[in-house]
Symmetry: C2
Subunit: 337 residues, 2 copies
DNA sequence: GTGAAAGCGCTAACAA
DNA sequence: TTGTTAGCGCTTTCAC
């Protein structure tokens, strides 16, 4: 690989001149400029990123932490992040933690080594709090995406989870249901809690008491949801919930499949809703009514915020809440033609 | 951030000594070593990656090019790549090209700038050939994953596509089908071509002629496949294929849904197979028979090859073919209890 | 055993 | 308008 010196020699100018034309930040006479440009072309030169980074004390790359990229929730988010970063000349480092705190620690190390200029943390866990806090205290740019961490002084981009729960439950109510179950996620997840609060609010407005068996928590995954639904299916028909809201579309698939396995018709015997609006929700054989979470936008906005923070002096932590949207398909009835 | 100088001063030693303990490559007296370690802890020091990279002329990061991370085929591959890289102290740069040649060009620029030490290219397109070739000619480490590019001098990791097509068709034959359609992917894709060759081989073995309407090509996506299936459904029952093999599980979903929309029972009226074995293939309401592509392993092996190439002197291009597996579920009948 | 210093490739302050 | 040079933080040769 050729260096700036090679270019300088080849063009018969000083390295400073080459640097000036490279960065276009000083006047350089047309002839010299042309010679430099020609040399660059001829030698197929590209300035070394490490050297630049060392001088400039920045890497122009941001880190994106996801717990598991093969969870279909994240790819869109990652894409939003990458598209936005890319637009501003930043690269993105993907870091899968697989929910191992050790991996989070390695990410923090990359931050201290200057490998990344800022970090987007999706689905932050309570266990990460201390580490993230210490990063923030050292002034490292950080934005949380999708999941909040109460009390952490960092930018946050999330979807309107309370509203999502509210709108899901209201929709069920509107369709005539009274016994509506809300399958929440792992206990303690703020996302899940917020959605459940929205649900409870709607139920309260409707004057309905929510017995504990309507809000079983557990994983929002397929199997765990499938099993919870089996439990409901086995209840006496006049006690069994006639509507089930699951925290994720994949979970809702489990609910749908359990209902089918027990001979329950959807939506006649049981109405089902999910959250996310994954591509599979739109399949004709599924047609899942769901609350769309703007995943791409979550990633895009988080990146936007991070980049702003990178270029501006310190400012207060911001909190952006993205609207969610009710997508009515077939699993609750009431579908538009 | 503290630098090696700060540590040296703080510990009362030279920067060289600090470097020695950091890299553990020279004898350092226990006392000094301890003092250095203490200073590192106290000042929360981490060596600057750019400076190291500049010296060492390596970034310890690899680039991973995918056309679209939100295509459910890629996340597992990306994860395999990331896990393997991570194990060897490498980071991974994700690059979504969205099939824009411009993005590929930017990736190449990153390579020339030394931002990445090597590149894994998934689903390489014919249009990328020249760029990739020029990278190889400059000796840049490159491995192709999933899709081959005939004649490109680079390592390649792919799944056994011919065998996959063969095993899919043979399975259909075994289930008693004779009119078996193979919905191939976009014309010219080597992956698709190989699979189709396997299919043709099986048909030939069975002494069956394959009329052109059985091998319609198109996108392997949901909608395109849905529509192709509608075409088959509208054929007279005694001409219509009784079995359909699609190039992807998502495509197979389209086939399944089209069949359902036309009142065709699966597998009685039409048997359906996919390729990939995505998570959705296992849903109880789907139970798609499919050819499993080892996506994670594709990413992992590609990374392994790349890392070997990074550490060893130049060697001949290698070609690894990963076995595929027939996963029998319900859409072709013959499911195990 | 340990340290001084050169140098990786680049930018920018300063000099001419 | 252009060039010389110091220095970013680190590793490593060479000398002691």
């Amino acid at each position: 690989m050729s260096t700036i010196k090679d270019i300088a020699k080849h063009a018969g100018v000083s390295v400073a001149t080459v640097s000036y034309v490279l960065n276009n930040n000083r006047y350089v006479s047309p002839e010299k400029k042309e010679r430099v440009l020609a040399a660059i072309r001829e030698l197929n030169y590209a300035p070394n990123a490490a050297a630049r980074g060392l001088r400039a004390r920045e890497s122009r790359t941001i880190g994106l932490i996801v717990s598991d990229i093969s969870n279909p929730f994240y790819p869109d988010l990652a894409k939003g992040c990458e598209d936005e970063a890319q637009k501003h000349g930043y690269a993105v480092h993907m870091i899968n933690t697989n929910d191992q705190p050790e991996r989070m620690r390695q990410a923090a190390a990359q931050a201290r080594e200057g490998k990344i200029d800022g970090l987007i943390v999706t689905s932050a866990l309570e266990a990460d709090r201390e580490l993230l806090q210490s990063l923030r205290e050292r002034g490292f740019p950080l934005v949380l995406a999708h999941r909040r961490l109460e009390g952490l002084d960092a930018d946050l981009v999330e979807s309107d989870n309370f509203e999502g729960g509210l709108m899901a439950a209201r929709h069920m109510l509107r369709m005539g249901h009274r016994r509506i179950a809300f399958m929440s996620g792992v206990a303690g997840s703020p996302t899940s809690k917020l959605r459940e609060e929205g649900y409870r609010q709607a139920m309260k407005e409707a004057g309905i008491d929510v017995p504990p068996e309507w809000t079983l928590s557990g994983e929002a995954k397929y199997t765990a949801s499938y099993e919870r639904m089996l439990g409901y299916a086995d209840m006496p028909p006049d006690e069994r919930p006639t509507a089930v809201i699951n925290m994720s579309d994949v979970g809702a698939m489990g609910v749908l499949d359990a209902a089918a396995d027990r001979g329950l018709r959807v939506p006649e015997d049981v109405a089902v809703m999910g959250f996310d609006d994954l591509f599979l929700a739109a399949f004709r054989s599924v047609r899942l009514t769901t609350v769309r979470i703007p995943r791409y936008e979550l990633g895009r906005r988080a990146t936007e915020l991070l980049l702003e923070r990178l270029s501006e002096a310190s400012r207060d932590a911001r909190h952006v809440v993205l609207p969610v949207e009710l997508i009515v398909r077939g699993t609750c009835g009431g579908e538009q033609a």
